[in-house]
Amino acid sequence: MSDLATSTPVGQALTMAGRCLRVSRRQVDALIMSLLLPVLLMVMFVELFGGAIDTGTKYVTYVVPGVILLCAGFGSATTAVSVSQDMTGGLMDRLRSMNVSGKAVLAGHVTASVARTAVSIELVFLVAAVLGFEPSAGPLDWLAVAGVLLAFVIAVSSLAVAIGLLAKSPEAANGFTFFVTFLPYASSGFVPVHTMPSWIQGFALHQPITPITETLRGLLLGTGVGSNPWQALAWCGAVTAISVAVSSVLFQRRIARS
């Protein structure tokens, strides 16, 4: 009677990613996060704050990496909330009873999150260009920029999935992502670290956002990157690996409890 069709985990993850994107296109808050916020942040930092900040370069040129990382952080809230919603409704039970793997569902969320953030990042570059951003990066540099951004966005998205699994409610998931959105401020993303009080400098120099910012800035402006790319990739790799490991434990715990 039943033909017992089976789907592959990759196919399942892509189907779930498609569904997440379709749903977020219809969510006003997700749309604001991924489309309006990047534009507003760029205009705010460059036109409102930028005049008062001296970084030695045009501020729009200085601030692009910071805004990109900030947008990725804000975007993680959407991901964490939608994971949390899936865990609290009846969907996960249905999917598990259909033998859809939990990993595929979570991978779908990460994929959708990466796609959403990619749109935001493109918008940041677009607005930056309008405001006078003049990168001097060659094709290879751009490729490297894309690679580092991809690694970062995957890391943040995986972290968001873990947060979504950890939080008891979608509202709590939203609150948790505050930490992710706060990190870029205490980095070299918006102002040079040497202008900060010394006790924050220690933190700013040794947190993941600073080497990522410096890598992006160095590649975009052709000013050299030093060891920053390796530090950046190491951070991204570590955050991704830990998030995936933690997510898989949290997922098992959530379903075992029900």
């Binding site: 039943s2 017992l4 189907t15 039970d93 999917l95």
Partner: protein, 321 residues
């Protein structure tokens, strides 16, 4: 032969922390039939469904569903079952059509197969007009129908419905019953839980009543009804004094006595002579009984009778300890 059994469970025990939710459940469901698991809130219905649908693991006991062990052949079981839980498993922000196509894709259908299947199910579940609309705009009844449609996208052999009509208005409930009955005609085995006796009576070929994590009665709805009594004479007494008098004289024969409403019942075969005799016996002065009615026993009688009996025996047990 076990091969004609869609579900074969024995000795299921499950505790959450110190709370023993299932205390040894045995269930047998024949292929192509509807099985109703009846019980009050907290009786262990959902836990039983979760174990049989591989979502939770029993502490002890074994269960085979669609011919496979729910623990050692979990993947094989999952390919043959589907679950509709108490929480709707459809996306509010997707249309009905998109929800069904997504389930089709997840269960391994190609893009075009999924589209065809979704269209056929929308038709069958009376959702053709609603198909292109977002689920957020659906009524409660439409949402349940879509949820049920999503449940059968993958053409499962056994479907689990956990309280499929709780919270629905009577019209939507009847619509769901018709759809479930149609599913069975197509050869599916349905395992449903319900707290509505009418639902079990209407849909189920066989019923098990659970209470306190144990099966307290099993059989067809008709058999269960016979276990209690075929007919019941319901009396409304004139006042509290009359109620006490009658209740005392009937003793163990009094059914469903309710002092606050001054009502009680007594078993009868429904014949005029027996009822006349009963009334004369109970109320020789012809003052105590103010009105009476004769009812065919409902599953509710069975249910209250059985769960009441186990509650009393539990009390006796704990009194002994």
């Amino acid at each position: 032969m076990t091969s004609d059994l869609a579900i074969d469970a024995s000795g299921l025990v499950k505790s959450y922390g110190a709370v023993r939710v299932l205390a040894g459940i045995d269930l047998r469901v024949r292929r192509g039939t509807v099985f109703g698991l009846l019980g009050a809130n907290g009786a262990g219905k959902t836990t039983t469904v979760r174990i049989l649908s591989t979502l939770a693991r029993a502490d002890s006991g074994r269960a085979r569903v669609a011919g496979f062990d729910v623990v050692s052949d979990q993947a094989q079981v999952r390919r043959r079952i589907s679950l509709t839980g108490q929480d709707a498993a459809v996306d509010e922000l997707q249309t009905g059509d998109e929800n069904l196509r997504m389930m089709g894709r997840l269960s391994g259908l190609s893009r075009s197969q999924a589209r065809v299947r979704a269209a056929a199910l929308l038709e069958r579940f009376g959702l053709v007009d609603a198909g292109p609309r977002r689920v957020a705009t659906y009524s409660g009844g439409m949402r349940r129908r879509l949820d049920l449609a999503a449940c059968v996208v993958a053409q499962p052999a056994v479907i689990f419905l956990d309280e499929p009509t709780t919270g629905l208005d009577p019209r939507s409930r009847h619509a769901m019953w018709e759809l479930i009955a149609e599913l069975v005609e197509s050869g599916v085995t349905v395992f449903l839980t319900t707290q509505y006796l009418e639902e079990a009576d209407r849909l189920a070929d066989s019923v098990a009543v659970i209470d306190g994590g144990r099966v307290v009665a099993e059989g067809s709805p008709a058999e269960l009804k016979q276990r209690v009594t075929s007919e019941r004479l319901d009396l409304t007494l004139a006042d509290a004094w009359a109620f006490d008098q009658v209740a005392r004289s009937l003793g163990e024969r009094a059914l469903r006595a309710d002092a606050s409403r001054l009502t009680l019942g007594v078993a009868t075969d429904g014949s005029a002579s027996q009822i006349r005799g009963l009334l004369d016996e109970i109320d020789p002065e012809r003052r105590a009984v103010s009105s009476f009615a004769v009812h065919a026993a409902t599953l509710e009688d069975v249910f209250l009778d059985l769960t009441d009996a186990t509650a009393t025996s539990r009390e006796r047990e704990s009194a002994r300890v």
